[in-house]
Subunit: 365 residues, 2 copies
Amino acid sequence: MLTVRFCTAKRFSGKRFEALGGYREDWMATLADVARHAGVAASTVSYVLSGKRSVSEETRERVARSIELLGYQPHAGARALASAKSNVLALVMPLRQDLYVPVMMDIAIAVTTTARRFGYDVLLLTNDEGPEGIRRVATTARADAVILTDVGMQDERIAMVRQTGVDAVLIGVPADSAGLDCVDLDFAQAGRLCVEHLAALGHRQVAFVGEAQDTYDRQIGFAERTLGGIREAAARAGVSLIHRPCGGSYEAAAGVLARIFEERPRTSGLIVQNEAVIPPLLSLLRSTGRIVPEDVSIVAVCPDPVAEQTSPRLSSVSLPAAELGTRAVDLLMRRMADGGRDEVVLIPPTLTVRGSTGPAPQRSR
Amino acid sequence: MLTVRFCTAKRFSGKRFEALGGYREDWMATLADVARHAGVAASTVSYVLSGKRSVSEETRERVARSIELLGYQPHAGARALASAKSNVLALVMPLRQDLYVPVMMDIAIAVTTTARRFGYDVLLLTNDEGPEGIRRVATTARADAVILTDVGMQDERIAMVRQTGVDAVLIGVPADSAGLDCVDLDFAQAGRLCVEHLAALGHRQVAFVGEAQDTYDRQIGFAERTLGGIREAAARAGVSLIHRPCGGSYEAAAGVLARIFEERPRTSGLIVQNEAVIPPLLSLLRSTGRIVPEDVSIVAVCPDPVAEQTSPRLSSVSLPAAELGTRAVDLLMRRMADGGRDEVVLIPPTLTVRGSTGPAPQRSR
DNA sequence: TTGTAAGCGTTATCAG
DNA sequence: CTGATAACGCTTACAA
């Protein structure tokens, strides 16, 4: 005779209790069932599971056997209620679906698999709930912590994080990171690397094809910081720079490129941050008779696979999306355990030289 | 004097109870607090919230005010426990990070936003947990239902769905869909449309550049069905067809393309399903001196934005990723309410003619 | 090393 | 129309 519950969707089915003479496939054993079956107290079973107090080898094994036999699985909701921990973390993705798609995907996957290693599940939030989504999952205790992506310099979600006091890690760095843990690529340094690489090759007129204008309008941190690094390094290296935001469409790329060469025909170096325009850009350069890298050199800031997808392959500063996700989870776990260090982790960028950069063309051309 | 709990991560803080003389920002009101504050029974508050029994306008308002005042938010875990419903659904994504990235992203976003409309949150599962992940979320009652993507003809996750009896909707159609609800684009018809379009333009030698070989090895449904539709239509239209699976890299595309024209120099039509190789393919065609669409016509099966990102824009059968996600959630909600119709919803494909297809070149060339 | 029992915050049954 | 109250399944003091 066991007290049992239905499996999954149909637990309980009308009456809340039921006594059965045996086991049925579609009934879930509870911790109490396990305890009864093993002849121990419920708490003992719980402790066997959590390891929070020592249990004699003998009982441990007996309990383990019962768990196995009954196919026991703890009820997540009950756990969350009793322990005040949901073992879920929320990942807040950007609303714009056309933005940094491969990056976001890699982050999501890395976050999810890393979280699982710590026994956490990942809840997906889109920004169309706005900051309220964060409040909701925090105050309803649906999630224990949140990871924010696509962080702006002034991000309204941060106020919500502070207000609710929910543990959070940002992928990206806001203007004021006091009291927050953040991870990001060191985009300023990434920008510098690009410029320095081009400068070393003799390029004196460089154009930065950046993210779409609205990304700058939203003051997304990485975009601003990259620009900052580029500007600084350009000034230092005596490189003349123009910055052109660029939407993701073919037309946008065409327009931007045309205007760049119109304004400054001598432009020989391109720095590209918007991965969506890379294929159009290459195609446009070719069709306007410019050879890469003989006439124009290109450095990109993008995930390695993107850089290796083109011909010629792009010299690039790699955007380690998966690492960002993994580090974010690591930071979050530490924060939930020890409390936060209010740390800004900047991953040092590395530039890989591939086929898209070469010496600047001679003046005579 | 209120019995309260800490907000979010730090509920309870040591002692389980605490009496306070007032409210503090970081304490969460419980349903009992609301009841006390409104001078009603806890059950009444619950019923005001759920609407499952009628409550007089007067008490309803009083309760509403208390809820507002105390900033009450129901505890998700407690709800899940008492109601045997988590109000969470799990979305199972493919492990391979380089696969159909934009499609998966759109699906994820559409699923999440649609689910929210029904009061559901979305848990992200990657396939690296394998079918066990499904069992886990189902049997621990972490999720009420699952949505599977990247469904193979023989998909091992289906056995798990059947075994656990968890409500599920598949995005994709397996060989045996008995007892399952599925949504997918009608890929066979999509394939037919491509061939018919090319055939109508006079193309007689067509090559199908498909997904990577391992996608076929894994017997992913959509890949097989597209191929089937293409073959059938080609046979019917008297079009000579070769099928070449193709990995996502530039090299793979180059190799495949070279071999196609080596084997059959007269090939004038290309059908492309693997969105990753579209840019390389276009670039390769250009560099080998083939003009699109004068020399070679291209039809793709891909999301519209991808087709509009190239030059020339691609005639394509659009892959309505967001719609797939939305429909999947709709089906799931219906299934959880009424029970499943065991329905396979095939979305009829539409072909949009853009700039990449034109009349077949004359024989004389 | 183990058991007992009092919670966790809801929902839903059963009275009134 | 409303109130008490018994679950839901688990964790964790507190004893033994």
